[in-house]
Point group: C2
Chain length 203, copies 2
């Protein structure tokens, strides 16, 4: 693990992607870089690395996952990142033939971090794009001054199992709406292929 | 709707984010831009716009969703994009106070598009980063030559309902693992707060 903080400053395009400046996207970016180092793999160009995030919805700090996408290339569009809905600031990084590794933000780190002025704005309901730039930058810079060991709980997970879904290019036209459906999602009704929304079946 | 194809060419950072060049990320980028126009809203900086994609897993062309993230700012990390698991190349774009709009790729477009050499490589199992650059570029350029009306089925969805989850900053320490859990995901065991994985409860 390196503590060269300049390496952990996300490139400008990651902020363009994310849509605002905040300290959690950069923290996720750093978590992603540290995880790639631990696995000994490069940023994912195609479809192999998989990241299982323990975050959920309706809580703050999910921006972490945009940093993970940006650093690792395990993107939502490539179906390489998912969330379990556990409301925890942690993620497991899996690559075939490697020991999976889990990173979580330490409670002590979160307690200290939560004292930054940035969070006072957020708790008053101010959206990140409305927070003064110097306040946001102070929070980002504060994290860059922390060593990895102060931020991350790290655990190897040799027993962690993940099985990527088997892929297929096959698709059928839905006999009701006429739109294409990839084969694993085709349902049948009256002997004809239908898509799930036309079927009325729940799944 | 504009057919100015240069506008639909994604900026270089979107390919850096995505990790490889392919024609479906740019198609999603275009779908996202067209949807923002239809809704009359700007790229999302914070947490309002929501995109419900009808794609699933284990099928190709999911890269569409990275283009949607890049164009709209409705990112996975901001919990603004989700997938229904229906295996369809379609997405509904929702913004409070606006009529939601659904875009799907037309079957006729997909049939014609599928004749590009790019897909012959993909069906032989070649990952996008391994396909010759000129073959990929030809597929991207071919789509840029098509008008919006040839690519997208468009439907306003005045009855479409979406309710964003109510957010909270509250969190508790799990009494077993000692990690933080955001409140909506806290479970109880023996009168003490626990996280879902420590609880052994399924949800």
């Amino acid at each position: 693990m390196s503590n060269d903080s300049s390496r952990y400053l996300p490139p400008e395009w990651t902020f363009a992607f994310h849509g605002h400046r905040c300290p959690f996207m950069p923290l996720g970016y750093r978590m992603g870089l540290v995880a790639l180092d631990a696995l000994g793999v490069d940023r994912e160009a195609d479809h192999t690395l998989h990241v299982i995030c323990e975050l959920g919805e309706g809580h703050p700090q999910t921006c972490l996952m945009d940093g993970i996408q940006a650093a690792t290339g395990a993107t939502f569009g490539k179906t390489l990142i998912e969330k379990t809905g556990w409301g925890k600031l942690a993620a497991t990084f899996w690559y075939p033939g490697k020991i999976a590794v889990r990173y979580a933000l330490k409670p002590q780190f979160l307690d200290e971090f939560g004292k930054r002025e940035f969070f006072a704005f957020r708790k008053r309901g101010v959206e990140p794009s409305g927070i003064p730039a110097n306040v946001t930058q102070e929070a980002i810079d504060w994290t860059l001054g922390q060593p990895d060991e102060a931020i991350f709980l790290t655990a190897q997970r040799p027993a962690f199992l993940y099985q990527p879904p088997k892929g297929s290019f096959n698709k059928s036209l839905c006999s009701q709406c006429g739109e294409y459906v990839f084969e694993r999602y085709v349902r049948y009704q009256g002997g004809k292929p239908v898509c799930i929304p036309c079927s009325g079946y729940a799944r």
